[in-house]
């Protein structure tokens, strides 16, 4: 399908990261991860548990921007913490920086004691990464995001987890990193970022140029798959009829 947009490729790539999760709590942070999770729930994984992002488990799948649905449970923050510790959860967070070893930073840019730019803070990233499967979404892949070493380690990559001991690795499970250019994991040599696929129209060289470290590239790098006609219909007609996805991944003519 030639009219498939990059945003739609990203949405299905995000959905695919939740496809094999089974009956767990999917916690997407932000717009595109929410779109991808809801798409997964309508296609590959109907057992996913999703929330309104506030305090309710939803039985159905509402469009972006709406939380109106049949309610199947109560998930206020204190019970989110219970689930984080208990385990059955896959979170997809953002990352202001992510490094070669899959460490993530959402805390601060520069020296922590006196940052040049204060960000959100550590939020739940340290706990998420040592307790639940954790994936990342990066809407604008650039050398400022894919950095050699993050300024502050909030989300823990596999190497840092290993160095911290068994309690940190027992449930450590870094999933995928989906960006506007491709899909990655952190299973390159010595637990480094590895390119799994490039989105149609993106070359391996494009990815390297947009990264501040050399991304490990295996023998064969396929294109990220395109959404099926059914998935496109769900994205366009049902989940995001207002086109909110283009705020994060603009169409080429809008860039």
């Amino acid at each position: 399908m030639s009219d498939v947009t990059r945003a739609e490729i990203c949405a299905t790539a995000i959905a695919d990261t939740f496809a094999g999760d089974g009956e767990i709590f999917a916690s997407p942070m932000g717009l595109m991860p929410t779109l991808g999770v809801r798409l997964a729930k309508l296609t590959s994984n109907p057992d996913l548990a999703i929330s309104d992002g506030e305090s309710l488990f939803l039985a159905g799948v509402p469009p972006l921007g709406s939380g109106r649905e049949v309610v199947e449970g109560w998930i206020p923050f204190r019970r989110v913490f219970d689930v984080v510790a208990n385990g059955p959860r896959h979170v997809m967070m953002g990352a202001t920086q992510i490094d070669r070893h899959g460490n993530q930073n959402i805390s601060a840019i520069g020296d922590f004691a006196r940052p040049s730019r204060q960000l959100l803070g550590s939020r739940g990233a340290p706990g998420n990464t040592v307790n639940n499967r954790t994936s990342y979404w990066v809407p604008k892949h650039s050398p400022r995001v894919f950095v050699e070493a993050v300024d502050v380690v909030t989300g823990v990559g596999p190497r840092r987890a290993r160095e911290a001991g068994v309690a940190a690795t027992r449930f450590h499970d870094l999933g995928r990193i989906v960006t506007n250019l491709g899909v990655f994991d952190v299973r390159g040599p010595d637990d480094t970022v590895r390119l799994l696929s490039t989105h149609p129209g993106v070359s391996v060289a494009d990815v390297q140029q947009a990264s501040g470290f050399e991304v490990y590239v295996g023998a064969e790098v396929p294109n990220t798959r395109e959404p099926s006609a059914g998935e496109l219909m769900l994205i366009r007609e049902m989940l995001d009829p207002r086109g909110l996805r283009y705020r994060e991944v603009p169409k080429p003519e809008e860039q």
């Binding site: 506030e54 923050f77 739940g124 340290p126 706990g127 987890a161 160095e163 309690a167 940190a168």
Partner: protein, 301 residues
């Protein structure tokens, strides 16, 4: 009939119980159901050198800007629809908060639980491998005395108790004795803040008869019991501009005005003069005036 004691007090009574150097826990979450009337009163007071413990929103931004914070314990400071709290970000970038303790947000829950259970710490995985440990060298690890199935004695973060001198929380309804209910989607951790504190003060939208607390709300809404509470204040619209669902939602327009004003020293001085120079009644009047006039003007700009 004998009744439990009446704990009603004024906003100023609450502030009079707080002294410089204390550790203050502020309930709610980010920009949700924050005891803002009590925070505004703290801004007006001469109390200083506070340790503030908060899942932070504008409460942290305002106290930081006013120079009230010596030590801040937080996991994030955010206004949700405006991700970065501008006054907090400025304070961090200017280095004006002397001591910073940035934790994982779940560690907060654990630290409050430890304090409420009168334990020095509770073990947790969160923090392992992250710079939370690097940037908080006072956080220690603890080795499990019990072997796991594989024989390993795992090493966890020993999250220290977040012992509070004072807890400030805002609830939807309370009686004069300190029984209090939340009517919105999430209790947050306001009961834990109260139990972790030497003194707990509950502000609320409305004080009702004890029987009134369960007239139109199930008993499970009664999050806080009077045995945990030292004072009750009725502060209508007292969480403004944060959410207090279902009494009111977040005042997004005013929050935008706050964030825009905070971005520039001159407009911030004007904001403070207009909204934060008088008492709580003056604040509420100023907000009502703003809503009638300026908001429409700004929309046209």
């Amino acid at each position: 009939m004998t009744r439990p004691r009446d704990k009603q007090m004024s906003i100023d009574d609450v502030v009079s119980r707080i002294s410089s150097g204390m550790t203050i826990g502020i309930g709610g979450w980010g920009p949700r159901r924050k005891p803002m009337a009590l925070v505004r009163a703290l801004l007006r007071s001469d109390v200083t050198d506070l340790t503030v413990v908060s899942w932070g929103g504008a409460d942290v931004g305002l106290l930081a800007e006013a120079g009230k914070i010596r030590r801040l314990v937080y996991a994030f400071v955010s206004l949700d629809s405006i991700p970065l709290e501008p006054l907090f970000a400025k304070a961090r970038q200017d280095g004006t908060i002397p001591e910073i303790a940035e934790w994982d947000e779940g560690m907060f829950f654990t630290g409050l639980k430890a304090a409420s259970e009168r334990l020095p710490f509770l073990p947790m995985r969160a923090g392992l491998g992250s710079d939370v440990l690097t940037n908080n060298p006072d956080l220690s690890l603890v080795t499990s005395p019990y072997p796991a199935a594989d024989g390993v004695h795992e090493e966890f973060v020993a999250v220290p108790a977040l012992n509070l001198d004072v807890a400030l929380v805002h609830m939807n309804r309370a009686d004069v004795h300190g029984n209090a209910s939340y009517l919105g989607p999430d209790p947050y951790f306001d009961d834990l803040f109260c139990m972790a504190a030497q003194q707990a003060f509950v502000s609320c939208e409305q004080i009702v008869d004890t029987a009134g607390l369960t007239v139109d709300a199930p008993v499970q809404r009664l999050l806080i019991h009077r045995t945990q509470v030292d004072g009750v204040v009725e502060t209508p619209n007292g969480a403004h501009f944060t959410t207090c669902t279902p009494d009111y939602e977040r005042d997004e327009a005013f929050q935008k005005h706050y964030a825009r004003s905070a971005a520039d020293p001159q407009s911030w001085a004007a904001f403070k003069a207009r909204f934060l120079s008088g008492d709580e009644a003056a604040y509420q009047t100023a907000v009502a005036d703003w809503r009638r006039s300026d908001q429409h003007g700004e929309k046209g700009k």
